[in-house]
Each structure stands twice: as structure tokens, then as C-alpha cells.
């Protein structure tokens, strides 16, 4: 059995232990080691990608051990296209985040250790296929995130961190209780209950799961209740409006490097959860409440866009924009599950939609983290100021920064030729036939996004120069080196999305087959 996935998760974990063991004043060593560890994992992820057989939709790099047989718990790892994408994203964003936080002085060893542990938690979540250790890593990712916000964050970090933690925990408890119910229902005298995502998906498809739930609980709608529990768990993470209120606070109070990871990768945990768990196991229930779900997705898209428009703090604006971008993923996912009556070639539309979701996840991860990287660069120069009104006409003073950030902003807007476009395009291509009215309403979101992003550009970069920033330094050489990879990827993926799509196509097709009856 190939243990690459376990090794991939253990490297940052032990790296974090080593870094944590360093003294408080060895910050050079700490950040060096952290960077080294993250680069190793990046190399490892690239190797994984190289060895990944994109044509097959099956799970690869599978590891499977019995762990607690009496409880039906196995150590079960594996990735398909979706998992690979997420692993890659994590591997790419982490070193960037570490580089951005190069100047952290206060308790540097703890900081970098927490970042590495966060990465380990993320890897674990994206590769786990048994609820037990999936949930373990899901929760374990929370702790470093909490402390990163709490100890190095902005003025209001305490309440923001607490709110973030508690909201997520409530969702987690709902998840736990729901899976408990499933476990109980799938228990037979001969075997313990099932925690295996793959097995449960198969049971759902064959209708066996519904029968078992009904038999165990006697209530026809038990499946719906359980679905709601699991939905809540992930809805808090994505987040779905109205469970999103923790996000703007957390994103804006966290140090920007941490926000890179939060928005780049952690938010994808929620969508990943939808794709890996909710959709395969509860397609029936989604169909049952399809319209309300679509409305929730739309609310997420539209309301957050308007909210972003109303913001004056740069980070809060981008935070709401994050919510908005992930809303499209939600829309596509729900539409893909919905019964497709009177639709021409539904499988192709669904495949397109889901393709779009995956691409959107990856691209948004890249773009959003890049945007916050820029915000960090600006903050460094402006001594922490990030209100829109504070700036003005910066392109005259920092043209390189303007240019590069502009590219990222346009990518976020969805300009064709940049990576942000591909995902959104595919989503709309898929959703339009499947749920036309929803697609139409969603375009409002596109519109408002364009408005506020352009407003941002206008306020910050164009217009009369704010006297205060006359002496603002432009990007240094090392900073440019830092930023170039992301920008390059934005172009590459915008022009040649096949680079990524090749790996995920087969998996998406398989997922669609899973969802169809």
C-alpha cells in the first residue's frame, strides 16, 4: 500500500512539533524550518499530481486499515480528482502564507507551528474517507486557526475568534449527531455501523440507506432531519447565508497571512464536505428541499455581494466577496442534484456544473489568497490602514503593485482570460439549463461583484493621489518574486484550464453517475 497520503499529512505535523519546540527567540530558524516543511509538502503534492491517473475516476493512493473494528472505524484514505485538487491548493497556499508572515516577531515559533498544524489538519480532512478520522482532522484544524486569530489578530480579535470557534463547533456537533444516527441505523447484529463515506454513498444510491433509516427510527422523515444536521455542519463552514456572520469578523481580525489560509483553503473545507459527503449520501433529501436550498445559495450570492459593496474596510469587502464566490459553488451543486426533467442531456450539464464547482474552488482559492497577500503588502506600507477612503491614486506611486493587484482583482471579477472566469462560466453553463430562474438571479451577483471590485480599484488606485502616500515604496524584488507565481498561475489557468481539468474530469463524471438514478 502506498503511504504517500499519510506521509503528506505527517510532514507538516511533525514539522510543527519541531518548530514549536524551538525557543521563542529563534525566529529565523522557526520560519526557515516552516518554509522548508511547506516546500517539501509542495514538492510531494506535485509528485502526487504527476502520478495521478487523471483518466480514471477511481480513488487513488488508497490506504485502508482496521482501527477500531467493534465501532466500524477504519483508517481509510484516498483521493480522487477533487481530493487532489484540494491537496494541491493547500500545498500551494501554505508556503505563500508563510512567506507573507516572514516578519512575525512575537512568539514566532508558536505561530509557524500553528500554521503547519493547520496544514496537517487540512490535508487530513481532504484525504480521509472514514467519518471518524475525517471528523478528527476537521476539528483539529479549528484549534490552530482559533489561536492564530486570537493571538496575532487585530483589535477585536478575541470576540471574532470566539465567534468563529463556537459557530463551527455548533455545526460540528450537528454533524456528529447526524452521523451517529446513520451509524446506528446501519448497524446490524453481524457488523457494526458504517462510517465509510464510500460505502454510505453506495447505500444511498441503492436506496438501502433510506430503508435502514426508516427501519431504525420509524420516522419517514428521519433522513431529512439527519440531512439537515449534516447540512448545518457544512453550511457554517462554507459559509451559507445566514450562518455566515462569523466570517467577516474572523477574516478582518485575523492577520492577513492567516486570512490567506482561511479564505484560500479552510473555506473550501465546507464545499468539499458538500461534495464528498452531503451530495453522494443525501441526494434524495436535496431533491426534496431543492427550491429552498437554491434560494439559500442565491441569498449567499446576492446578499453577500451587496454587503461587500457596502463595506469600507478592504478586508471586510474581500471577505464578503469570498462568501459570494463560494455561493456559486453552492448553486451549481444543488442544481446538479436536482431532478432534471425536460433537460437536454442532463448528465453533460451536471458534469459542467460540477466541473465548474471544482475549478471555482481551486481558482478562488488561488485568487482570494493572492488578494489578501496584496492586502498584507498594502498594510505593511500603510501601517495597518485599510479603509477605502484612506487611499487614492496609488497607481501613480506604486504602479507595479497596482498592476499586479489589478490582475488579481480582475480575476476575481471573472474576466475571461484569467482563471476566475473559467469556473464561473462552467457553473453558469451547467446551471442555466438545469435551473434557469436561479441562474438569472445569480447574474445579479455577478453584476454587483463587478461594481464593487471596480469601485475598489477606482477608490484605491485611481483618482487624485492622497498626499499621505507620496513616499509609498513599490514592491521590492523579493515581494515581486512572491507574487509572480500566483499571477502566473492566474494567467495559465485562465488560458489553459485543461491543465487542471484533465485530472478532474473523470472524477466529476463519476460523481454525476453517483447522483443520477
Amino acid at each position: 500500500m502506498n503511504h504517500s497520503l499519510t506521509i503528506l499529512t505527517l510532514v507538516p505535523f511533525f514539522g510543527g512539533l519541531v518548530v514549536a519546540g524551538l525557543g521563542a527567540n529563534q525566529k529565523n530558524l522557526a520560519r526557515g524550518l516552516a518554509l522548508f516543511s511547506s516546500l517539501i509538502t509542495l514538492a510531494g503534492a506535485v509528485c502526487l499530481w504527476a502520478n495521478f491517473k487523471g483518466a480514471s475516476g477511481e480513488l487513488q493512493f488508497v490506504e485502508k486499515f482496521d482501527w477500531v473494528p467493534s465501532l466500524g472505524v477504519q483508517y481509510y484514505l484516498g483521493i480522487d480528482g477533487l481530493g487532489l485538487l484540494m491537496v494541491m491548493l493547500t500545498a500551494i497556499v501554505t508556503p505563500l502564507s508563510i512567506l507573507v508572515s516572514w516578519s512575525i516577531k512575537d512568539r514566532a515559533n508558536v505561530y509557524f507551528a500553528l500554521v503547519l498544524w493547520l496544514q496537517a489538519g487540512l490535508f487530513g480532512t481532504f484525504t480521509a474517507l472514514n467519518f471518524f478520522h475525517w471528523f478528527m482532522f476537521w476539528e483539529l484544524g479549528l484549534i490552530p486557526a482559533f489561536f492564530l486569530v486570537k493571538l496575532w489578530g487585530g483589535a477585536n480579535r478575541g470576540p471574532a475568534a470566539t465567534q468563529f470557534f463556537i459557530y463551527t463547533m455548533v455545526g460540528s456537533v450537528a454533524l456528529l449527531l447526524s452521523f451517529l444516527a446513520i451509524w446506528l441505523a446501519t448497524k446490524t447484529p453481524a457488523s457494526p455501523g458504517s462510517f465509510d463515506f464510500i460505502q454510505l454513498a453506495a447505500m444511498a444510491k441503492s436506496g438501502e440507506l433510506a430503508t435502514k433509516l426508516h427501519a431504525a427510527f420509524g420516522w419517514q422523515q428521519m433522513g431529512l432531519l439527519i440531512f439537515l444536521g449534516v447540512f448545518l455542519g457544512f453550511a457554517v463552514k462554507v459559509p451559507v447565508v445566514p450562518f455566515h456572520t462569523w466570517l467577516p469578523n474572523a477574516y478582518s481580525e485575523a492577520p492577513s497571512a492567516v486570512t490567506m489560509m482561511l479564505t484560500g483553503v479552510m473555506s473550501k473545507m465546507g464545499v468539499y464536505g458538500f461534495l464528498r459527503i452531503l451530495l453522494p449520501i443525501f441526494p434524495e433529501q436535496i431533491r426534496l428541499v431543492l427550491t429552498p436550498l437554491l434560494w439559500l445559495a442565491l441569498a449567499t450570492i446576492v446578499l453577500s455581494a451587496f454587503a461587500a459593496f457596502a463595506q469600507r474596510d478592504l478586508k471586510r469587502m474581500l471577505a464578503y466577496s469570498s462568501v459570494n464566490h463560494l455561493g456559486y459553488c453552492l448553486l451549481a451543486m444543488f442544481a446538479a442534484v436536482g431532478a432534471a426533467t425536460g433537460v437536454n442531456q442532463p448528465e453533460i450539464q451536471k458534469a459542467a456544473a460540477l466541473d465548474g464547482v471544482l475549478l471555482q474552488m481551486f481558482n478562488h482559492g488561488l485568487t482570494a489568497s493572492a488578494l489578501f497577500l496584496f492586502v498584507a503588502l498594502i498594510e505593511k506600507r500603510s501601517a495597518g490602514r485599510r479603509d477605502l477612503e484612506d487611499f487614492g491614486g496609488l497607481r501613480k506611486v506604486v504602479p507595479v503593485l497596482t498592476g499586479l493587484m489589478g490582475i488579481a482583482l480582475f480575476s476575481s471579477l471573472g474576466l475571461p482570460g484569467l482563471n476566475g472566469f473559467v469556473g464561473e462560466f462552467l457553473i453558469f453553463k451547467g446551471v442555466f439549463p438545469l435551473a434557469p430562474w436561479a441562474a438569472v438571479i445569480a447574474t445579479i451577483g455577478l453584476l454587483v461583484t463587478a461594481i464593487f471590485l471596480l469601485t475598489l480599484i477606482q477608490r484605491v488606485f485611481c483618482g487624485p493621489l492622497n498626499e499621505r502616500w507620496l513616499k509609498l515604496p513599490d514592491l521590492t524584488f523579493s515581494e515581486r518574486l512572491l507574487v509572480i507565481p500566483s499571477i502566473a498561475l492566474m494567467f495559465v489557468l485562465g488560458i489553459w484550464p485543461q491543465l487542471v481539468q484533465g485530472s478532474i474530469d473523470a472524477s466529476v463524471v463519476k460523481l454525476v453517475q453517483q447522483l443520477t438514478f
Binding site: S70, H133, L140, G158, V173, L176
Partner: protein, 503 residues
Amino acid sequence: MLAWTIYISFIGVLVLMLLPRDNARAARIVALFTAVLGCGVAFAGAIQQAQHTNLGDVTTIVKTSWIPALGASYYLAADGISLVLVVLTGLAAVTGILFSWNIEKRTKEFFAFYLALIGGVYGVFLSFDLLLLFMFYELTIIPKYFLIARWGSTRKEYGAMKLALYSFVGSHLVLIGLIAAWVVARTQLGHPSLDLMELSKISLPVGFQHWVFPLVFVGFAILAGMWPFHTWAPTGHVAAPTAGSMLLAGVVMKLGAYGCLRVAMVLFPEGVREWQWAIATLAVIGIIYGAGVALVQRDFKFVIGYSSVSHMGFVLLGLATLNTIGLDGAVLQMFSHGIIAGLLFGVVGRMVYDRTHTRDFNDLERMNVGKLIPFAGVTFVIAGVASMGLPGFSGFVAEFQVLAGAWQVYPITAILSGLGIIIGVAYTLRAVQKAFYSDLPPLAHSDHDAHPMEPITVPERVGAVLLIAASLAIGLFPGLLMNWIDPCLKSPMFARLLNGGAQ
């Protein structure tokens, strides 16, 4: 071999009494040596029994006739569940001594009482004769009282007396039930008997069970901290010295729960079924009430004290489910909470209070504790996270199983317990923030600038690491203990209890 855990502890007491009066160092070393030896014997005996016998069977260690007129025998035995708790006692004993390394006042008497308490606890977990079990159970009350009254802190005399009286009343309730059961069993058997194995095989009259069971169960449950008889626990825990709290919350409360399981439930299965709903209700109230009250405390130690009440609620809920997985979870939670509570009290009592001399959050907020003793902060975070039930630590598996068991019988209790878990997250987070990582500026002229806090000593570190390792080990490999517990639940002793209820 396991009986030596008891004897070693009491021999340790004797040796300590003979030591010269003011030699604290000698006292500590003797005490630690005794505890480690006892712990070693416990582990060795347990592993030996696990390998050579079927853990579902009760393996006799010693059995001699004692008072034939009563049918009482000196009967020590162990099955898988006993082994789990014996191992817990061993760990708790050693770490408690490590965390009390700094006791200077009348050290040898402190450790003498401490070891006497440990010996009594070992005795309870290994007794299979009702009179013997009861004797060891009551025996533990006296050392507890003196440990708190002499070496405790806040309101120590009041707390000690309250604890002793509550425990005494509880054990007397049990006594009434035991005597009544003895008489009725004697009529049924034809000869007097206090042998637990023998009594577990007969069926006492159902009407009798219906009123005897609540008596005996409540008697034991008082010590287990069941709501509303729990009020001794927070006061007692806060008043007790660190090692006292660790033992109290870690092990002594488990005596009550063990008594509930081994005596009340095994002997009176019809009684349990009759009162199952009441136990489950009170357990859930305890979970939520304990967590809710912990959320609003100003005193750091009170938070942990009330959290103990909440966690024991899980144990009682597990017991009330009357199915295999719930009982499994209950026993596992006994072990898990024993370790975690020990860790929590160790941090609060020894690491923080002994240095800051205050447990008030309003004061701690301004002391920058997290920066001055980072080891304490990190340990508390780990302990808090384990206490929240984070997967990877022992609490998760235990709570998960209890919830699974509860869902099968009274689903609403599982949901309410989930609420309790969330409140648990909240109060733990609050405590972490206020005590260690608060954002408030430190006091300008705190006298701790003049006396920087002494660094965390080696015994504290060793104790903390031991406990964390134990919790992690069981969290990651719960099979280690579940393999001991599961066979017991399939044994004839528990068959009557489980077969009638939902599986």
C-alpha cells in the same frame, strides 16, 4: 497480584507514619515510590489478566470466608471493567503525587492520608463481596475529609465537612438497601450471602427491587455527582488541595459510578428498568446544568468543578441507556474523565494557583499568565480541548458511545447532551481566554513584576505529559480499553441487565 495494589498502598501509609516528622523530602520519595509501585502492579496485573484469561469472566484473586453468619467473605476479584478502573487509579495516584511535590506543611501526614485514600479506592474496585466493597467505600471518606480540611484552600473546613457528610449519607442509603437485600436474598437462597457473583444470579422480587434500587442507586450516585445531589462537588473540589481535587474528581467520583453499575444495576435489574427514565433525565439535567453554571463562574477552579458534574452526567446517561454501547461509553468516560479532570485540576491548582495565588478571572486576566508560564497555557488548552470531546482524545470516543447509546433509547437526551457539549466548548473557551490569553493590559504595578513566576517544575511536566499521553493513547487507540470492557458486557453478570433493554 492485583490485591497487592491495596496492600502496597497501606504499607506505604505505615512507612510514612514512621518517618521523622519534618523530613518532607523523604516523605515525598516514599509516597512516590509507593504510588509508582502500586501503579506498576496494577498495570502488570491487568495486562497479565488480559492475556491469560477471558476478560468477560470474573477472575478471583483472593476468596476466604470471613463472617459466615453474614455470608461475607474476603473476596477480591477483577473483570475487564475493574481492570480499567484499577489502571486509572494507578495513573491518578502517581500524577497526583507529582503535582503535590511542593507541599511543605506536614508533608508526611498529607501523603499518608493520600495513600490511605488510594488503597481504599483500589479496594473498592477489586471487591466482589458486598460487605468488603462497602467497607472500602466508607473507608475512603476519612482520608478525604482530612486532606481537604487540613491542606485545602477556600472554605476548606466547610467544604470538607459537606463532602464527608454527603458521602456518609450516601453510603448509609446504600447500607439500608444492602441490608434489606441481604435479608431477602437469604430467604431466597436459603443461606446468607453477600457474594456479589452469587447475588447477581438470583432474581429478587420485582416489587422489592422497585423500591430498593433507587435507594442504593441514589446512595452511590450522590458520590458520582448526580444532579441534584451534586452540591458537595464544586465546593469540595474548590476547597481541596490540588492532589485532592485530582483524586476527588478523577477517581472518587468514579467510585460512586462504579457502585451504581456494579452493585445497584447488576443486583436490581428490574429496578433499573423501572427507574431508567428518571436516571436519564437527571443525568441530562446534570450535563446541561453543570455546563451552564460553569459558564458563569468567576473562580477558575469552580469552572472545572462544575465541568466535572457535567462530565459525570455523561457517565450516568451512559449507565441509563442499558445497552452495550452506552455502558461501554460510560466506563470509558469514567476513565477518560478521570485522566482529563486530573489534568485540568493539575493545571489550575498547581501550575496557576500556586504561582498566582488567585483563581479569580478578573485578576488572572491582568496577569499575562499565558506568556509567563506558556507550558501551563498549552497544557490547559490541550486538556480543555480533550474535555470538550475533540476527536483524537479519549473523551470523544466515550461521549460518542454514550450519545449513540442514548439515541437508541431516548433520542431527545442525545440532542440535549449535544447542547451540553456546545456549552462545554463555550466555558472552556472562556476559561482559556480569561486565564491565559486575555487581551487586557497587565496591571501596571502587579507584584508579580517583582517576583516573576517560578518556572514549571519537572514533576509538573512529567505529570502533565503522563496524563496527556494517556488521554491521547486511548483517544487514538480506544480498542485498548474497549477490548477489556466489551467482553464484560457480554458476560452473564450483565446479561440480565442488557437483554431486557434495547440492544
